[in-house]
């Protein structure tokens, strides 16, 4: 089961990180990054299944697929930026973490611009 794999990778990384943190903190950080990437690869398949179900539901109900694509991109940007922010905070680089967070917000706004334009058109169409 995937949760066992994820838990095993996470616990192993925690123990190894704890063991080498005192002597080599930068390797500890790299270990945390590697564990995170491995976990993402493990859950990639189930996430793909979830998004496929959402895509099928939206196709059946007539929802514009562009909206769903934008929402999925936004979710991806949110998660990746959160991952990077946490890693930076763990390394003690709070300023870099803040920059990554800002970049994430700007990219989300840029990706969601078509949705905001659609909403504006609909609202103006009411008057």
């Amino acid at each position: 089961m995937d949760i066992i794999k994820v838990s095993a990778v996470g616990i192993t990384a925690v123990f190894l990180s704890a063991a080498i943190k005192k002597d080599s903190p930068h390797f500890s950080l790299l270990l945390g990054l590697a564990a995170g990437i491995i976990i993402i690869f493990i859950i990639a398949e189930p996430i793909k299944d979830v998004f496929y179900v959402l895509y099928e539901l939206s196709r059946e109900s007539g929802v514009n697929s562009a909206y769903l694509a934008i929402v999925i991109k936004v979710i991806g940007i949110a998660y990746i930026s959160e991952f990077a922010v946490q890693l930076s905070n763990d390394a003690g680089e709070t300023s870099i973490a803040g920059k990554i967070e800002l970049a994430g917000k700007i990219l989300i706004m840029a990706v969601s611009a078509p949705i905001i334009v659609s909403l504006t058109d609909i609202v103006l169409g009411l008057f």
Binding site: V74, E82, V85, N89, I115, L126
Partner: protein, 373 residues
């Protein structure tokens, strides 16, 4: 002797100069006697078969018995239209549910994030997608109300010459000449008030209501509630205004059908926003309803009701869908999404109230006008 001779001459005249007498057919009555040129341009869509129907077609169908206007017949027609409308809105239900599921999914992900700001922004995007679906449906509903109100106004303006010609033929043109300008002017003024003022206020109110829930703090809650109250009271004010116009017409009828009045009042009282106000109008009109002897008046009222029936049922189903989706999504979605859905339902019911007031104004106007017959 003279009297006998006169009697014999009279009988001879009747026997020798006899002619056949013919009654006018319905077609002659509709096409030759009445001013029907305007109303024939207006069509209503028959709700079951979907065919277009003109006013003269409606009169012929009522007279021939093809259109069942009994209580059971009306109930059956409404049931068929309601079920057809629910089936056609299934796609809309799916859209709303999917958008609500996406927002719940995102909310669950964001709860696991340490830093909420990026996750909050992504929830904001999901919420906007939901708002787009809701506002698209609401825009269709608003266009439906505007179109239906305009068509009812056009139909009324086209019907009035025909009714006036009937009233004048009955010899009671004096009274009708006084009441007609008052009722007609009031009805048109109120319809313009609804389309130029009330509907834009409702549009602004729902826009603010949706925008309010983008943020958790809800900075526009009081403002959106204020606009909702204003639009509700404007609508009730227009209904009360028309009631005041009705009260100008003094009732000389000694007997009021209490049972019919109470039943009509109870039924109309169930209409959202304006039900309690229009219920009193129903009592006044019920007193006059017994004077609806002409099939033309019945056909006019039925024609107007057919024109408004489908839009009213569409709005009822749409509002019901919003409320039902809010109820079912409450366990999984955030409170903001549920409040947005529930508010959309309230505003849709208000649109239904607007359409009902427009329809009632004209139906009551026709009943009062025909009461002179």
């Amino acid at each position: 002797m003279k009297i006998v001779c006169k009697m014999i001459m009279l009988i001879a005249v009747f026997l020798l100069i006899s002619r056949n007498a013919y009654g006018n057919t319905v077609d002659y009555y509709l096409e030759e006697s009445l001013e029907m040129s305007g109303i024939e341009s207006v069509e209503a869509q028959e709700e079951i078969s979907g065919e277009k129907m003109t006013f003269s077609t409606a009169v012929r169908k009522i007279l021939s018995g093809e259109m069942d206007i009994s209580a059971k017949g009306v109930f059956d027609r409404i049931s068929i239209v309601f079920s057809k409308e629910v089936k056609s809105q299934v796609g809309f239900i799916k859209k709303i549910v999917i958008a609500a599921l996406l927002s719940a999914f995102l909310k669950n992900i964001s709860d696991s994030f340490k830093d909420k700001s990026v996750a909050e922004l992504s929830f904001f995007v999901c919420y906007i997608v939901l708002v787009i679906f809701i506002m698209s449906a609401f825009r269709e509903g608003m266009a439906l109300v505007k179109t239906s109100s305009d068509r009812i106004l056009d139909t009324m303006q086209a019907m009035l010459p025909a009714f006036l010609s009937v009233v004048f033929m009955s010899g009671k043109g004096g009274s009708a000449a006084f009441v007609y300008p008052v009722i007609s002017g009031a009805a048109q003024l109120l319809t313009m008030f609804i389309s130029r003022i009330i509907i834009p206020v409702v549009s602004a109110a729902i826009t603010l209501h949706m925008v309010n829930f983008i943020s958790e703090k809800g900075y526009l809650t009081q403002f959106s509630k204020l606009l909702y109250s204003i639009s509700k009271w404007l609508l009730r004010g227009s209904a009360i205004g028309f009631m005041a116009v009705l009260s100008l017409y003094k009732l000389g009828t000694p007997a009021i059908n209490q049972l019919l009045g109470k039943s009509a009042k109870a039924a109309i009282g169930a209409i959202p926003v304006v039900g309690d106000v229009m219920g009193s109008a129903a009592e006044i009109v019920a007193a006059l309803s017994k004077s609806i002897g002409s099939s033309m008046a019945a056909a006019a009222i039925i024609f107007l009701i057919i024109m408004a029936l489908i839009p009213v049922i569409k709005l009822l189903v749409m509002g019901f869908i919003f409320k039902l989706t809010a109820a079912f999504a409450e366990p999984i979605c955030e409170a903001r999404v549920i409040k947005a859905l529930s508010g959309a339902g309230d505003f849709t019911f208000m649109l239904m109230g607007i359409l009902f007031v427009s329809e009632a104004i004209f139906v009551f106007s026709i009943i009062i006008l025909v009461s002179f017959l």
